[in-house]
């Protein structure tokens, strides 16, 4: 005998519908259904229910598992005419014997009504904004067809979990941790585990978190004692922890059924558990024991339901439903809980782990997995560090010797509650908040609240070293350190008054090196007007060229630089770091530039420069000096020598020298001036146009690149400086001595078989 329809008990809807868009949609629906009128029933004070009979396409050989979905299914289309279409329609089964326990993708039944079909993943009201009533009806018919074919519950050998709503509070735990707990305990023959839960907040129904598994006997005593100790002076605990249970079935059965009727009291809870094979009698005794011995007023119970397949989106086949018992003394009768004891259910919040964050962010599993060093947690560095951390990359030692002050907060990623705290310590604390599970952080993130010196760089082995210090001092350590292994070096900073972000990636084997990359960047300004303009602005902003420091530290309260600009640069930096580190380090170096402009409108662009490895030689007369020639320079010299053979030839180098790092960078050559003279044994370098050519370069590069030395060829040898050469060296040295910053005397000889740099 048919069980009847839910709509049989509904009254006629006694009001008129006047919204034109709803009337039009209803008219379209009637046309689609081929009917003249639609029956309107009163669903509740606000909503109208329209009974429909849907044609359902069933599989030819019968429904999945014999589920009672029929070729024609009566449903109710429920609409809120007052809030349509902001609140979209919902569809409910109208048959009282509709098998909703066997189908996934249904909402929880509420207020003694049937549960609604969950027609879309995500918010159904958002989805409806692109649809009309006819489309909802088509989708409902297709939903029923999927249900009949078993394609609602199982999706590619994955199980659709319960679709729950109407939560009262949240419970946070790591899903995998609880699955492991169940599997381990079940393997030892247990059906439940006593646990401690910690209250994080009382708001919005309460937010709790799984704290730990508690064994019986001494462990309980110890837990109780510890809880007793954690009491403020006024008697209330600092941290609220309560005992609770995780429970599961031991019958070895995988349950495919759903239960859209969630329990609201202890009696219904026991019935609910029994449907999933959970030993109810034992649970009754355990709960009473807990309530009696460890009475607290709140007991959390997590029910583990064994499913036949791994759950969609989760790495296990146990589905957890989370409940919260609110117990009064009156609820305990004869050492048992009354059936009327109130039960609420809580939403599970998956504990965020770095692995999960990595997946959500789409960051490659191969990127930044080894332990790395992150130095400099100012405005840019802190933001990049947090971007990477939120992408699941936390295996860093974070180093900064500075502490946070109020003037940092307009730009810093951390907030004022960290005032006075060392930046690296504060960041690691922030990461522990982000990933409260702890394990990944403890093994990974470390705070180094001191300056990083060369010895740290040389004595520890890192997968990568990220420098966001904007510190020339640290730059020198980075350049000169003789590091273990071959860490990937990345340096990022902001310049041009915050309008230019520069990110440098060294090439494989530290060539090109960060100082090579800077040299290449400055050299590019000869051909890129925007870079030239930047360097000229930097030059103009300083009194003396010698004081030009490219790169602004954002730590000073006098630095004018907004957080939004920082955020743009940091976003590019973080994205570039993730992309670059996902693959093997290439041979060439890379420079990313993030440029902001205000005219004609506020805009952000980025560019990218690759830099081939430099040719590196030690000075033949003084190996403490290193000469680094940009790719192609030495080839030019050889080509020039061959071209002019048998005569000597030569030219002038463009670049710069650094006495601190004892490095000369050569970025290009200027050919011998037209008034130069040469024969097989002599070369007289002329002067025609040379000064103007050099000044052009100096001007275009804001003084960063200029005349740095000279070269000539010995096509017939010797492979050393001649007496004539030495006389020139001495003359240069005497002339340079008059300068405030004397140039080193840098001379390179090229022979058919050798290239010999000399520095005096």
């Amino acid at each position: 005998m048919a069980a009847g329809l839910y709509s049989d008990g509904l009254e006629a809807y006694g009001r008129d519908i006047s919204r034109p868009d709803l009337l039009a949609s209803l008219a379209q629906l009637k046309t689609y259904l081929g009917v003249e009128t639609l029956t309107m029933l009163q669903w509740d004070n606000d909503r109208v229910a329209i009974p429909l009979l849907l044609d359902v396409n069933l599989p030819g050989h019968g429904t999945f598992g014999g589920v009672d979905v029929r070729a024609q299914e009566p449903v109710l289309l429920v609409i809120n005419p007052h809030r349509y279409p902001f609140i979209g329609p919902m569809v409910y089964p109208d048959r009282l014997d509709f098998p909703y326990d066997e189908l996934g993708h249904m909402y929880v039944a509420q207020e003694a009504r049937p549960p609604a079909f969950c027609l879309v993943r995500g918010n159904p009201h958002e989805w409806y904004q692109g649809k009309r009533l006819k489309d909802v009806v088509i989708r409902a018919a297709n939903w029923l067809s999927d249900g009949a074919a078993g394609e609602l519950s199982v999706d590619g050998n994955q199980f659709e979990p319960l679709r729950l709503d109407g939560y009262n509070g949240r419970l946070t735990y790591d899903y995998e941790e609880l699955v492991q707990l169940v599997q381990q305990e079940r393997g030892e023959g247990s059906s439940h585990a006593l646990c401690l839960f910690e209250q994080l907040s009382q708001n919005n129904g309460g937010h709790w978190q799984f704290y730990k598994r508690v064994q019986g006997g001494d462990d309980i005593t110890e837990a109780l004692l510890k809880m007793a100790e954690e009491v403020k002076e006024d008697g209330s605990p600092k941290v609220v922890r309560r005992f609770g249970l995780v429970t599961w079935s031991t019958d070895g059965i995988a349950y495919k059924n759903y239960n859209a009727d969630l329990p609201t009291n202890w009696g219904e809870f026991k019935t609910y558990c029994s449907k999933f094979g959970i030993e109810v009698d034992e649970l009754d005794v355990v709960m009473a024991s807990l309530a009696f011995r460890l009475f607290s007023g709140s007991i959390l119970v997590v029910v583990g339901i064994q499913r036949p397949f791994p759950l969609i989106g989760l790495p296990g086949d146990i589905e957890f439903a989370n409940f919260h018992l609110k117990i009064d003394k009156a609820d305990i009768v004869d050492e048992r809980l009354r059936d009327e004891t109130k039960v609420m259910f809580k939403k599970h919040e998956q504990l965020l782990t770095p692995g999960q964050a990595r997946r959500i962010s789409g960051f490659a599993a191969t990127g930044l997995t080894g332990h790395s060093l992150f130095v400099g947690l100012g405005a840019i560095g802190s933001r990049v560090a947090l971007h990477l951390a939120k992408s699941g990359s936390v295996n860093f030692s974070y180093a900064d010797e500075d502490s946070l002050a109020p003037h940092n907060f307009p730009r810093h990623v951390l907030g004022p509650h960290y005032t006075g705290m060392n930046k690296s310590v504060a960041l690691v604390e922030e990461l522990n908040e982000l990933y409260p599970g702890g394990a990944s952080i403890v093994d990974g993130a470390k705070a180094l609240d001191y300056g990083i010196s060369r010895s740290t760089l040389e004595n520890k082995s890192y997968e990568s070293i990220m420098d966001f210090t904007a510190s020339p001092r640290f730059m020198r350590e980075l350049v000169q350190a003789n590091m273990q292994g071959e860490p990937r070096i990345v340096k990022g900073y902001v310049s041009d008054f915050g309008n230019l972000g520069i990110l440098l990636f060294e090439g494989r084997g530290r060539n090109p090196r960060v100082d090579d990359l800077q040299a290449a960047l400055y050299a590019s300004a000869r051909n890129v007007p925007e870079l030239s303009a930047w360097l000229r602005r930097e030059m103009a902003a300083t009194v003396q060229a010698a004081d030009v420091v490219i790169g602004v530290g954002c730590h000073s309260e006098t630095t004018i630089l907004s957080e939004d600009k920082i955020a743009i640069h940091a976003g590019l930096f973080s994205g570039a770091v993730k992309m670059e580190t996902a693959d093997d380090q290439p041979a060439e170096g890379r420079i990313y530039l993030s440029q902001l402009k205000h005219e004609p409108f506020f805009q952000s662009t980025s560019t990218f420069i690759t830099v081939a490895p430099f040719d590196v030689l030690k000075a033949a007369n003084d190996p403490s000096w290193e000469v680094r020639y940009a790719a192609g320079v030495l080839s030019k010299l050889k080509a020039q020598m061959l071209k002019e053979y048998p005569r000597e030839t030569g030219g002038v180098f463009l670049g710069f020298a650094n006495y601190n790092t004892r490095t000369v960078h050569v970025v290009d050559v200027i050919d011998a001036p037209t008034d130069s003279r040469a024969n097989p044994v002599c070369f007289f370098r002329g002067i025609a146009g040379l000064s103007e050519s050099i000044d052009q370069v100096v001007d275009k590069t804001g003084g960063q690149i200029g005349y740095i030395g000279e070269w000539h060829s010995h096509p017939h040898g010797p492979e050393e400086l001649s007496q004539t050469d030495m006389r020139t060296v001495l003359r240069f040295r005497d002339e340079y001595a008059a300068y405030a910053t004397p140039l080193p005397v840098f001379l390179t000889i090229i022979t058919p078989t050798n290239i010999l740099p000399f520095i005096f």
């Binding site: 069933l58 599989p59 070729a71 692109g130 649809k131 009309r132 088509i138």
Partner: protein, 400 residues
């Protein structure tokens, strides 16, 4: 796309495409064609534009340096009547595939990689499309007779079903041939594990000129989608009978049982049964005018339906009136067997406005399931293919 069977609405005619999805490759098998000129574009809203749909459904490839050439893996002809071959000449390329040119592509001519041809169903051609088909079949056969290398090329391949009929091809020994009782698993040079065809007919060995009655010798076959988790190991069994009549079915049942293929290979079972000869009485008997009893074998075959088996009637809307086919009493026999809800008429089952839509069944583990309906959207924008865009529109405040 999942495997599917698509029955096109062509009034009294047959046009079906079986699409088998396996290993990332879709094999498309066309069974008969009935492409009316009037169905193209929006000339007649009561006719579904099959050609346009084929051009969307079929795969395309680069051929002779021409990009996007549409092609069908296999074209099967159940028999040569006009309503099973209409439009073949205009819509399918005939001739050496090496000569397929841009002009052919511009006319959207579909390349047929393999032709399934039964000499037994082809007598003297009675219409232009049949003449073209025969000519194309002979061209391909001649490549085999002449042992040309090109005979193995796509667009030249041919498969012979049944005996020679009037064709003199006895001594052509490298022709691919199948006979009733054979299970075919190789289609267009690909061996499929998820699909096969059991051939029931033509079983005749020889015919005289007077006996050539094409409706007696239709290609009759069972299309089989394999799935070890499904009923009998087949997720979908679809029976195609062309215009075969009650006598043919009587023989088919006898032979199938004689050789044990009903039990060994489930060769008589079906989930989808295309009512032969457009739901005419000829499937049930020889006298449609008087109230003759339906033939036993015909009724028995309908008992082999599995689960919620469905009969597809590829014909005009069935009414209790002339002309015939369709035959109303035949329709009632089908209804009697499978219930009315399971007799699906291509002319009426699904319509958009006046235009009937194809019946499409998805092949699923639990059996063939009608394709889910497509939803619409609240926001919409027309493309350049919208009919009103492609026609002049007249405006004015007075008479033009």
């Amino acid at each position: 796309m999942a495997s599917q069977i698509k029955y096109y609405p062509v009034d009294n005619g047959d046009t079906t495409v079986i699409s088998i999805e396996e290993g990332g490759y879709t094999t498309n098998i066309m069974v008969d064609c009935n492409i009316r000129k009037s169905s193209k574009g929006d000339k007649n809203p009561e006719q579904y534009d099959i050609h346009a749909d084929l051009l969307k459904l079929l795969k395309r490839k680069k051929h002779n340096g021409i990009e996007g050439v549409p092609y069908i893996d296999v074209f099967m002809l159940t028999h040569g009547d006009e309503d099973h071959l209409l439009g073949f000449e205009d819509n399918f390329y005939q001739g050496d595939p090496k000569n397929y040119k841009q002009a052919n592509k511009d006319k959207n001519e579909i390349l047929v990689e393999v032709l399934w041809f039964s000499p037994m169903v082809m007598g003297t051609a009675g219409n232009d499309d049949e003449r073209c088909f025969n000519k194309e079949a002979r061209r391909r056969i001649n490549l085999h007779c002449d042992k040309k290398d090109a005979r193995k090329d796509a667009g030249n391949r041919i498969v012979i079903i049944g005996d020679n009929g009037h064709e003199k091809i006895d001594d052509v020994d490298d022709l691919v041939r199948f006979y009733p009782g054979d299970i075919v698993k190789r289609f267009n040079d690909r061996d499929l594990s998820s699909f096969s065809i059991f051939i029931h007919s033509p079983y005749q060995k020889e015919l005289s000129e007077e006996d050539v009655d094409k409706n007696m010798v239709s290609l009759v076959f069972q299309a089989r989608f394999h799935n070890s988790a499904s009923l009998d190991g087949f997720s979908t069994l679809a029976m195609f009978g062309g215009d075969s009549n009650y006598e043919a079915w009587d023989t088919i049942l006898k032979k199938t049982k004689k050789y044990g293929n009903d039990k060994k290979h489930h060769a008589l079972k079906w989930d989808l049964f295309m009512a032969p000869h457009h739901c005419s009485w000829t499937y049930f008997g020889g006298d449609s005018e008087n109230d003759e009893e339906a033939a036993e074998a015909s009724l028995e075959e309908l008992d082999y339906g599995r689960g919620t088996a469905k009969v597809i009637t590829s014909c005009r809307e069935i009414k209790d009136e002339e002309p015939n086919p369709p035959h109303y009493r035949a329709y009632e026999e089908y209804v009697d067997k499978v219930k009315k809800a399971n007799v699906l008429q291509t002319a009426t089952h699904d319509k958009k406005g006046k235009t009937p839509q194809p019946l499409v069944f998805e092949v699923k583990q639990l059996g063939p399931t009608l394709l889910k309906r497509a939803e619409g959207n609240a926001a919409v924008a027309g493309t350049g293919a919208v009919s009103t865009v492609n026609k002049t529109s007249s405006y004015g405040s007075g008479t033009i």
